[in-house]
């Protein structure tokens, strides 16, 4: 294991500069809010001041009379259309018609000549409401007789799963120790700085163009086709650059998206709607708050015998992606530790809060936090070292050619967790370190460990198509077309690099076309760490197809067998005699001009997306959700001010990451540093929406705390290479798994430093302060006795 094969490649496996970096660093990159179309109007959404209320009447007449207003719409303009994540969960209207279910839900919208007029017109719309009692926590929602968020959903249940593998009760009965603990993860903002924005227009009455910040542009493609009764061929979604996503809002639709399209139709002019940060932080999708109760049985030497998880979750007003989120909370519990018995009971409830949805580490984040903190509690109770107990349970890297199957039928071909954990423990010198004194003056220092896992190349039953097109131009330059969307993670660069690698040309020779549904092939978009693994496979297959066409031609010209032809460094030559060669450029030109009408277009799709494993079954929890799985171990050091409760993460932290094979080492490092460790620090110590009866109390980045540059530890990233047989050139997802391991590592470090457990995130100073105080008082009491 760990064999580097980067030397075999010309481009991949090294630091690859991003193909879009220059556009971004010079400000030329256009994001949705930067788009302007001739004759464009500005739109604005009228929002509800109630979290739960019946809409009795909407009077738009005053708004319509305001000079400069060009169109006013309400939910009724959509003729009863509803939409959702899947067919059975279509419970949301583009704009609420009869009832609003969360505060600031959209009820009407205006298009006008400028932003101020649109805003003023919105204020002139008069809406009569009948306020209704609401439910604002899942515990209120589950009470008998509680107000219903959706009248047709008894018990306010959004989704529930009850899975059972092996026999947990029997295993608990035979265990040396059984521990039950409850952990809590809060409601979090997705954290993108770019608020959602959309420009929509109808170049002809039956043709729609939609340019919006969408990480999964083929969601709006299908949804808008249905909403406006258009054939898919007439729906053109064009993706600008996207200022981050992290799951949720930029995957699917907002009130503003639907409104822009309808207003543009009604006004007969393009309409642009740009959300404010306030809109984004009060109405965009958030991370689900969850209460995770985890019961774990272990043998005397710390081997896990069974886990039973019981989760209560707040889904907010609409179903959105909740069926997937809660499925994900349990699907990877059998990793990275060997788990012989497993039971999973999870229920998500509707509340009158803004809807919850996917967020980085989707679902798995919550259960990883609970499991990894409890692992330390168990280790301490048994008197086993915290690294050692993990080693005793880790799934060993399967021998090449063999597969490890988890209790719920997930298939692992490579697992570098053991090497990751060994590496981080060595890097922070844990053996020496653990004997050292924790407290220095008013500061206490602690080291915490955690492991994590994540699926890559999500496999879901519907809309899984994923393809690439490689068009070779007559001068040797190449267009790569993909339906996949780079929301910042660098997949555009990876796609280009894979195409260039296969064709033996330079990265500069390949130009990527961002998504335009009129030309690019359908794709599910950016979620579930799927893009590099699946769109990457499609890109390779498309490039291979183009190469096959050129190889045929080269073989003829060079008088050799086709399988003798090699493409490398912009040269095409015969393997046994490099002198018999032709330059890439010349070959392409000759091939294109050889016969009238010849074009070199390669196409390929991802077969693994659909054919590799049996797709997971949501109702039983059995099967594979990933094409393969990444693994992580990390060590994080904290400094706790024992007088104030302020916790700081130090530079003494290390993340070892098994992403199979890092296709772009630099991008993997930046992702792991920022997209995992830093976001983990944010989740562990800072981020939480404070709520009061559906009202978000901190909807701005002053009151909603996030770490800034002076709170950014300079983490070390170590690569563990396992070369997964199911990924493109051995690759698996990068950095989503390590998002999940960061919060527990930090909470474990706080415990190592001070002996207190913070079981509900984030570990804000106040919480830590009170926990320390309570501990001190208990100790003093004991001393007195």
């Amino acid at each position: 294991m760990g064999k580097e094969h980067a030397g075999e490649y010309s481009i991949i496996g090294k630091p690859i500069p991003r193909v879009d970096a220059k556009l971004k660093v010079t400000g030329q990159a256009k994001y949705a809010a930067d788009i302007e179309v001739a004759n464009m109007l500005w739109g604005c959404v009228k929002r509800s001041p109630h979290a739960h209320a019946r809409i009795l009447n909407i009077d738009t007449s005053k708004a319509e009379r305001l000079p400069g207003v060009k169109a006013v719409i309400t939910g009724k303009d959509f003729n009863g259309f509803t939409w959702g994540w899947s067919q059975p969960t279509r419970d949301e209207e583009p704009l609420a018609v009869k009832k609003v279910r969360y505060l600031y839900e959209g009820v009407a919208a205006v298009a006008a000549v400028d932003e101020d007029t649109a805003q003023e017109a919105c204020d002139l719309i008069e809406v009569e409401y009948e306020p209704l009692p609401g439910v604002f926590t899942p515990f209120e929602a589950m009470k008998e007789g509680a107000p219903l968020v959706h009248e047709n959903r008894p018990g306010n249940i959004t989704v529930e799963y009850h899975w059972n593998f092996g026999d947990v009760e029997k295993a608990f009965a035979g265990s040396y120790l059984v521990r039950e603990d409850t952990f809590q993860t809060p409601r979090m903002a997705k954290g993108y700085i770019e608020p959602p924005a959309t420009v929509a227009y109808w170049p002809e009455t039956d043709r729609l163009v939609f340019q919006g910040a969408k990480g999964s542009p083929y969601f709006p493609y299908r949804i808008l086709s249905r909403c406006f009764n258009l054939p898919l061929s007439n729906v053109r979604i064009i993706t600008p650059f996207i200022g981050c996503d992290f799951g949720g809002t930029k995957n699917d639709m907002t009130n503003g998206d639907f409104s822009a399209v309808m207003l543009a139709k009604k006004a007969g002019r393009p309409v642009k709607i740009v959300a404010s940060q306030f809109d984004a932080l009060t109405t965009d999708l958030r991370r689900h708050p969850m209460w995770v109760t985890i019961r774990t049985g272990v043998t005397k030497d710390g081997k896990i015998t069974a886990i039973h998880t019981k989760i209560v979750s707040d889904g907010g007003a609409y179903t959105r992606m909740s069926p997937l989120t809660h499925f994900l909370t349990g699907i990877c519990m059998g990793m990275p530790y060997h788990l012989p018995n497993f039971k999973h009971d999870v229920t998500c409830y509707f509340t009158n809060n803004p809807s919850s949805a996917a967020m980085r580490g989707h679902g798995i984040y919550h259960t990883t936090f609970a499991r990894e903190c409890q692992m330390d509690m168990i280790a301490d109770e048994l008197g086993i070292d915290r690294v050692e107990i993990r080693h005793r349970n880790i799934i060993k890297n399967p021998e090449p050619g063999t597969i490890y199957e988890t209790i719920n039928g997930a298939h692992i071909a490579t697992a570098g967790t053991e090497e990751c954990l060994t590496k981080v423990a060595e890097a922070v010198k844990w053996e020496e370190r653990k004997k050292k004194e924790r407290v220095k003056g008013s500061k206490a220092y602690g080291m915490g460990f955690a492991t994590g896992t994540y699926l890559s190349g999500t496999q879901l039953s519907a809309h899984n198509a994923c393809a690439g097109i490689v068009r070779v131009c007559e001068d040797g330059s190449v267009n790569y077309l993909t339906g996949a969307t780079d929301v910042g993670m660098g997949s555009d660069t990876i796609g280009c690099a894979l195409v260039a690698e296969v064709l033996g040309i330079a990265l500069d020779d390949v130009d990527i076309k961002r998504v335009d549904t009129a030309f690019t092939p359908a794709d599910p978009g950016s979620y579930g760490s799927r893009v590099t693994v699946l769109a990457g496979e499609a890109a390779i297959n498309a490039a291979e197809d183009a190469k096959r066409q050129l190889r045929e031609f080269a073989a003829k010209k060079l008088g050799a067998m086709e399988d003798e032809i090699v493409f490398k460094n912009r040269q095409v030559f015969v393997k046994s005699n490099h002198a018999r060669s032709i330059s890439w450029e010349r070959l392409v030109r000759m091939a294109c001009y050889d016969a009238p009408g010849r074009v070199i277009i390669g196409r390929g799709h991802s077969k693994r997306a659909t054919d590799l494993h049996t797709l997971a079954d949501f109702s039983t929890g059995k099967g594979d959700i990933g094409t393969n799985y990444s693994f992580t171990a990390q060590a994080a050091e904290v400094e706790v001010d024992v007088e104030t409760g302020v916790v700081r993460c130090t530079d003494n932290s290390v993340i070892a990451h098994d992403c199979g094979f890092p296709l772009n080492t630099q991008a993997v490092e930046t992702q792991v540093l920022g997209g995992s460790y830093h976001q983990g620090v944010a989740a562990a110590l800072y981020e939480e929406f404070k709520m009061d009866k559906g009202l978000t109390l901190n909807p701005n980045f002053v009151d909603y705390k996030r770490p800034r540059a002076y709170e950014a530890p300079m983490t070390e990233v170590l690569h563990v290479i396992t070369n997964d047989p199911f990924g493109p050139f051995g690759a698996k997802e990068a950095s989503e798994g390590s998002t999940c391991s960061a919060p527990p590592a930090i909470i474990n470090a706080i415990h190592d430093a001070t002996g207190v457990w913070i079981k509900d995130l984030p570990a804000e100073p106040e919480k830590v302060y009170w926990a320390l105080k309570e501990k001190r008082e208990k100790e003093q009491k004991k001393e007195k006795q």
Partner: protein, 162 residues
């Protein structure tokens, strides 16, 4: 004076003189993005919290969302579009590209502008100085580490070049 009375604004942006008429309440950010179409300056929070709108006003880093356009009267504004020398990137930009600091890129303009102002004032910053200079620039996905290192690299390069 009524809110809507137009006032004269004369200033220079990226070395070019401009004469405009603006409402007193107009923000510098809106003049740059909407009037001058310099959209490289981003709109994030509009409340001085994210730094995406950072520009240089007489060499100082300011948040264009919290400066009235008229406050720039008679002064020099440099935006992200004015940092590179034609096709040639500024050392700060070059280092950010080469060091892999950039992810989604939405905060990048602001990062460059904060760094530029820092290096104009303090060509040999310590790591702490750099952290302080970009503390108002929120980034959601880079973890700042590579931005900090890139600014260090750029500072050294500028020093070496002199």
């Amino acid at each position: 004076m009524k809110d809507d009375d137009l006032k004269e604004l004369r200033f220079s942006v990226n070395g070019r003189p401009y004469e405009l008429k603006v409402k007193p309440k107009t923000l510098l950010l809106d003049v740059l993005r909407k009037e001058l179409k310099l959209t490289g300056t981003r709109t994030g929070c509009e409340v001085s919290a994210c730094g995406a709108c950072t520009v240089n006003l007489d060499g100082m880093a300011v948040r264009a969302c919290s400066v009235l356009a008229l406050q720039a009267n008679g002064r020099e504004v440099v935006t992200i579009e004015g940092v590179a020398d034609g096709e040639k990137l500024h050392p700060i930009q070059e280092a950010m590209v080469a060091h892999g600091a950039i992810e989604c890129g939405f905060c990048t303009s602001g990062m460059v502008m904060s760094a530029r102002a820092l290096l104009l004032e303090n060509p040999k910053p310590t790591r702490e100085d750099i952290r302080k200079a970009i503390q108002g620039n929120l980034c959601a996905d880079s973890g700042y580490a590579k931005y900090i290192e890139a600014i260090e690299i750029a500072a050294e390069k500028i020093q070496g070049g002199e």
